[in-house]
């Protein structure tokens, strides 16, 4: 799924909504579209374990619909590699997911042989090596990184956007286990100070003396600016 772009993921979910027959609201006009928005687009090649989207439903038509039932129906219409984990109601002042996002957790996973395989860890590097890279990185005063956009190259100091970064090992996120060495980070995300995890990876190589080791990038959770998980914005319908 991580090779499917953001717009295509949206189209995929529109189809899932139709198939699930949830009473989702549509815009007016000759080509009505579903009222649906994603918290933060996920970069191509990055896996997401805690993604959020908002949808609007017709009140009357979904009376009596419970969270666990909705999750079940949606997952019956899903495909391999995509799963709905929760379905919650937003209460209080209306603020959509996209404008709420401020921070995100990512992990850089160095064990690429398969998620549940404990044996096959890239063995040329010791735990101490991995521990060293983020420490070295954060000992710098600034982290100047070249950011390439369409035709311009901009130099950017990414230090202020990294809230936390550290080495970790063997962890469980959203019921999924990850084994081996990894680097965990909490960085700014959203419409104002969006930091791409690829740039942190670049900085780890430039300032943290990390060699060019293969790794996969996984986004594990999204928060608002005050580090409150988006999950906590909603309430289960029971």
């Amino acid at each position: 799924m991580r090779f499917v772009g953001h717009l295509d993921i949206m189209r995929f979910f529109q189809k899932v909504m139709r198939k699930s027959n949830l009473p989702i609201k549509y815009s007016e006009g000759f080509s009505p579209h579903q009222i649906m928005s994603f918290a933060a687009p996920l970069g191509l090649g990055i896996e997401g374990l805690g993604e959020y989207m908002d949808i609007e439903l017709y009140d009357e038509a979904c009376a009596g619909l419970k969270s666990d039932e909705a999750v079940k129906i949606l997952n019956e219409n899903m495909c391999e590699g995509m799963e709905v984990l929760s379905f919650r109601q937003l209460k209080g002042p209306k603020k959509n997911a996209m404008s709420s996002v401020g921070l995100a957790d990512y992990i850089l996973l160095f064990n690429l042989s398969g998620i549940n395989d404990e044996d096959n860890i890239q063995s040329n590097f010791s735990e101490n090596d991995f521990r060293k890279y983020p420490e070295l990185l954060m000992s710098n005063e600034s982290l100047l990184i070249e950011k390439k956009s369409k035709d311009k190259v901009k130099v950017l100091d990414i230090m202020p956007f990294i809230r936390h970064i550290e080495y970790t090992r063997n962890t469980v996120v959203n019921k999924k286990s990850f084994y081996g060495d990894m680097i965990f980070m909490n960085i700014t995300q959203g419409s104002t100070d969006n930091l791409k995890p690829e740039l942190v990876l670049q900085a780890l190589k430039k300032y943290g003396s990390m060699p060019d080791i293969k790794c996969s990038i996984i986004r594990t959770e999204l928060y608002d600016e005050g580090h409150r998980s988006l999950e906590d914005y909603g309430e289960d319908i029971t």
């Binding site: 090779f3 139709r18 080509s31 090649g45």
Partner: protein, 619 residues
């Protein structure tokens, strides 16, 4: 989780990696083992185009219903992946199993348009399969072709082991059974192909020998063995309501060209427009019943979650249950926020009324296909539409609020003269004048007329199969004449004009009616770097001109020559069901500017009656 053939790094280095990963909703997933027939189904263009094709979906679904067949998909790798595969020596792989194509039992390639021919060689080359049929060994897949271009397969004869002539639903089971038997008995490739040629509709090119006279015209075309049939018969579905019904359509992740449910109303066409190959090679017209289509539409919309449904046929207005079907669909789609698209509808009060209900008039445009600029030439091509039909239809539309009109024409039709060419801008001018006759407060701003012309390419199995084409410069002169005449007209600002590429037209002409000598040209052009020739930014005419020169093949032999009616044509060995004598009568009628009635008005005894189906039986 499936293991992908490419690494993350490789995938992220190419454009749209989701083209190559498979795993879409409803895609097949079977275990490969020695008892399963692995059939790789290929559309030789990019994923987005190939996945829009309903034929592939029908056969994919049908094959995968069999427990002993695993049908997978394959599309052309874009040039970025092409480079990567060559550089890193990675064999081309199918989407589902991500395993090398070379290890499959069959490689089926659909031939939808002529300009994809070099892409076929790319597929074979990247798979590590010799491009010549005769060089393949027993462990390699059987390469089988089908689709509209297989009605003249000769320019590809060297590259394919079998061509399947006709509709795929009919004979594949028989072919699979034969294959299984031969595999069990370890029968050699050559012997399997010979046995396959006994199945109706299977053309095995290596079992036929062609001889030419001094002028390069075919003097004889014969099978090399007595048991191989001289004539290959086109296979058709005779009962449209019993035909295989897709119920597991693959739903792509990425946006494909036709991201909608396609509802095939019928096959064939009653019209008999003389330029149109589909109008002859898909005879007779065979309709699905309204009940079948309702059921199909609902099932497909529910399974795919699609946002749009489109009606598909050669001329949807001729579908006898159209109003009944549309009433049903409009009600259902309205309730479920689904769009309907209605291509190939004749513009009349019925269709305008329907369109008003399902489209935004301000945004949508109306399409007319007069094909020719004068009534005389429209009669020559037997396009059953008059100037009054066009103007009357457009006026109704203008009064209904439309102000955008698209008009399709062809240039270079047989017998075309200066009046016919100038007739194109004149007809456009006439429509603009008529628009401005409507009082200002009753019309919707300015009128926008877009005329486009393609250059006519004569196709096999049409009454124009004997006709000559023009030189590239002559095509352009005709397009310039249209353009210049438009510029001199009063309403020039309301009319836009576009025309197709003349160089591509000449090549299409060579491939459409070429013989086996053309194989060498395609191979040479591929070696010189031709690929994705149907993409205008990729097409390089110089390569093709060099390929003709290097192989000593004169392309004007195929384009500029009017064939004699008794000449042996490269595709004469195929029996499409319509008789050559009928095509000849129609060719003669065309030369006398005479129209012929359509199949519902009168039977002209074209020969399709022998299928005993559809409109020939009064349905």
């Amino acid at each position: 989780m499936r293991k992908l053939a490419l690494s993350d790094k490789q995938l992220l280095s190419v454009e749209k990696p989701a083209r190559y990963i498979g795993g879409e909703m409803n895609s097949a997933c079977k275990e490969l083992h020695s008892d399963i027939i692995r059939f790789v189904m290929c559309f030789p263009d990019v994923y987005e185009i190939g996945m829009s094709h309903i034929g592939i979906q029908i056969l994919y679904d049908m094959f995968n219903k069999r427990n002993d067949v695993f049908c997978e998909r394959l599309f052309s790798p874009w040039v970025d992946l092409d480079r990567l595969l060559r550089k890193e020596n990675i064999p081309l792989f199918s989407l589902e199993s991500q395993q090398p194509v070379k290890e499959a039992d069959f490689l089926g390639i659909t031939l939808q348009y002529e300009m994809c021919y070099t892409n076929i060689l790319q597929i074979l080359d990247l798979s590590g399969i010799p491009i010549h049929s005769c060089e393949r060994t027993d462990d390699m897949p059987i390469v089988i072709g089908g689709g509209p271009c297989s009605y003249n397969p000769e320019p590809l004869a060297d590259f394919f082991d079998i061509f399947y002539i006709g509709e795929g639903e009919v004979r594949y089971d028989e072919l699979f059974e034969l294959y299984k038997k031969c595999k069990k008995l370890k029968i050699a490739r050559g012997d399997f192909l010979r046995l396959a040629s006994h199945i109706e509709g299977m053309y095995v090119p290596c079992l036929y020998e062609v001889q030419y006279d001094n002028d390069g015209i075919i003097s004889s075309f014969k099978p090399v063995f007595d048991d191989v049939p001289e004539i290959v018969k086109r296979q058709i579905v005779t009962d449209m309501d019993k035909v295989h019904f897709i119920n597991k359509p693959v739903v792509p992740f990425i946006k494909v060209t036709q991201d909608r449910v396609v509802l095939e109303l019928m096959r064939g066409c009653i019209r008999g427009c003389r330029f149109c190959q589909a109008g002859f090679v898909y005879r007779p017209l065979r309709e699905h019943s309204v009940e079948y289509l309702k059921n199909y539409a609902l099932t497909m919309l529910e399974i795919t979650g699609a946002q749009e449904i489109s009606l598909s046929s050669l001329s949807s207005s001729d579908y006898s249950g159209l109003s009944q079907l549309l009433e049903f669909l409009i009600e259902y789609t309205g309730k479920h926020n689904i769009n309907i698209s209605l291509p190939s509808l004749r513009i009349d009060s019925f269709s305008l009324d329907i369109m008003k209900r399902v489209q935004d008039i301000k945004k949508s445009s109306l399409t007319f296909a007069p094909e020719a600029g004068t009534q005389r030439l429209r009669d020559v091509i037997n396009k059953g539409i008059t100037q009054e039909d066009i103007i009357g239809g457009a006026m109704q539309a203008f009064k209904g609020g439309w102000n955008k009109v698209k008009l399709y024409f062809m240039l270079g039709l047989p017998t075309e003269n200066e009046d016919d060419i100038k007739g194109i801008p004149l007809l456009c001018e006439k429509l603009a004048e008529k628009y401005y006759e409507i009082p200002k407060d009753e019309r919707n701003g300015k009128v926008q007329i877009t005329a486009s012309s393609s250059f006519f390419v004569p196709k096999p199995f049409t009454p124009f199969q004997w006709s000559s084409m023009l030189k590239r410069e002559q095509y352009l002169e005709r397009a310039y004449l249209v353009k210049d005449t438009l510029k001199e007209q009063l309403n020039k600002k309301s009319i836009k004009y576009q025309y197709h590429d003349a160089e591509v037209t000449v090549l299409e002409g060579v491939f459409a009616r070429g013989d086996r000598k053309v194989c060498a040209v395609i191979e040479e052009a591929y070696r010189l770097g031709a690929l994705y020739d149907s993409w205008s930014d990729m097409f390089d005419n110089d390569i093709w001109m060099r390929a003709f020169k290097n192989t000593g093949v004169d392309y004007e032999f195929y384009t500029l020559r009017e064939r004699k009616v008794d000449e042996v044509l490269p595709w004469d060995f195929i029996d499409i069901g319509v008789d050559k004598s009928f095509l000849k009568r129609e060719w003669e009628a065309a030369c006398k500017d005479k129209v012929s009635p359509n199949c519902r008005q009168a039977c002209l005894a074209c020969g399709a009656r022998k299928f005993n189906s559809g409109v020939c039986c009064g349905h």
